[in-house]
């Protein structure tokens, strides 16, 4: 199954700029990308990032067992965006290294908790999470019919220069 995630270079720059800011107490920042989706033939999806929604400073919880813990307001605001704009939502954060990133065990556990909440406001749509490194990206998306998240197989950073990242098969 082919799953493509596309983001413009300009928007990706905004994401990096925001997530690299320091937070008063959290060790890292997180945010959400609102996206639209297209169906691919014969099966698959193309996820199209539209806008980045930073999590407000006040919406982080003090939890030193993780790099960043979102509070209920952060989730509520993201749910509101999904509801009012008819978009799917992808959580985003950075791992501070170069090369291909992947989710930590805590990332996977926490993401699996809150991503399905988006089906309460936007059922049938795919939602998910991406993790960025300094020069690459990886991601997962959840489909209401699938028991487990589906790996995003291709990323396109659209701009000059174009960057095409393909998962190794």
């Amino acid at each position: 199954m082919r799953v493509i995630f596309k983001i413009t270079r300009a928007l990706l720059g905004n994401v990096y700029d925001d997530l690299r800011r320091t937070h008063p107490f959290a060790a890292e920042r997180v945010g959400f990308l609102s996206c639209r989706v297209g169906a691919l033939k014969p099966d698959g999806w193309v996820i199209l990032a539209h806008e980045f929604h930073a999590v407000a400073d006040a919406d982080y919880l003090r939890d030193h067992s993780v790099g960043a813990m979102m509070g209920p307001d952060a989730i509520r605001k993201a749910l509101q965006v999904a509801l009012s704009r008819e978009v799917c939502m992808f959580h985003a954060h950075i791992h501070g290294h170069c090369g291909h990133p992947w989710f930590s065990g805590i990332d996977l556990r926490e993401t699996a908790k809150f991503v399905p909440d988006f089906w309460h406001v936007r059922p049938h749509m795919v939602h998910g999470a991406i993790v960025l490194s300094h020069d690459s990206v990886a991601g997962l998306c959840w489909h209401p019919q699938a028991p487990a998240p589906v790996r995003i197989s291709e990323f396109s950073i659209v701009g000059a220069p174009m960057c095409l990242i393909r998962e190794l098969k």
């Binding site: 983001i7 033939k41 698959g44 095409l164």
Partner: protein, 276 residues
């Protein structure tokens, strides 16, 4: 890097992989599109989507790269000619094709990394650009025309890169409502559209250069202009003054989330192996 690509290794040590992974959609495989197919195959592009509803006619032989007199006799499809041309250069290329109007198979274009438009009408260009923007796909348009000036002729053409989040063809002044309306009024009376092989080739070469600069930039300037104008009388290609006038502007035409993705999301069934 394979031996055949060593002469273009200045494009980057992994440029062969970049091109091998890329998927380009070629809409229109006539004078311009056939040059593109040939050059992209030489460049090492790994994945082609070829779309053209037409077969080869006698009048195509003045410019259709790869077409032969036998193709006219057999009424070969233009997609067949392009496929044969590409296979002859790069047998490993993945080639998908559709012998249809692109509007009848537009879903296929969604999976492309870049779309090249070699179509005849402003309406087609307008609709192709909207489709490309909707799925965040860079769209490279090429076209040429011959105008009569008194009892002389003037050859002109354009190569335009319409990049998502950049200026669109309306912003650049290439697509205008009056041109679309005039074309609609003359629908069915287009007559004999002059086309010549060298102008098609010059424009296709510039487009492939733009594409290469996009994927494997070989100097820091990158794509310096998204709008090239061809003057076939002076044999020059220069950055359009239209771009110079508007280059600081933001495109206001494709902004909202509803300009992206499927207009109506129809829940997709996931493959059986992924179902709950």
């Amino acid at each position: 890097m394979r031996e055949r690509y060593k002469r273009q290794s200045f494009l980057g040590s992994d440029s062969d992989t970049v091109f091998a992974n890329c998927i380009a959609g070629l809409v229109g495989l006539g004078g311009g599109g056939s040059h593109l197919a040939q050059q992209l195959a030489h460049l090492g592009l790994g994945n082609f989507l070829l779309i053209d509803p037409d077969g080869v006619e006698e009048s195509n032989l003045n410019r259709l790269i790869g077409a032969t007199a036998k193709d006219v006799a057999r009424r070969s499809r233009k997609t067949f000619v392009a496929r044969r041309l590409i296979r002859g250069i790069n047998p490993l290329a993945n080639i998908a094709s559709a012998n249809k109007k692109w509007q009848e198979c537009h879903q296929l274009l969604r999976g492309c990394d870049v779309i090249f438009g070699c179509v005849d009408t402003y309406r087609d260009r307008y609709e192709l650009e909207i489709t490309a923007r909707r799925y965040l796909i860079p769209y490279i348009d090429i076209g040429m025309d011959v105008h009569s000036v008194g009892d002389q002729f003037s050859i002109s053409g354009q190569v335009i890169l319409s990049m998502p989040s950049g200026l669109c063809m309306r912003c650049l002044g290439f697509l205008r409502d009056d041109l679309l309306a005039k074309e609609a009024e003359n629908y069915g009376a287009a007559g004999n559209r002059p086309q010549v092989v060298w102008a098609n080739g010059a424009l296709a070469s510039a487009a492939v250069g733009m594409f290469t600069q996009l994927l494997t930039p070989w100097h820091p300037g990158g794509v310096s202009t998204p709008y090239l104008e061809y003057d076939g009388n002076t044999q020059t290609i220069v950055s359009s003054n239209r771009f110079e006038c508007v280059k600081e502007r933001q495109c206001p035409h494709f902004l909202g989330p509803h300009d992206l993705g499927d207009p109506f999301w129809i829940p997709q069934r996931v493959p059986a192996d992924l179902q709950k």
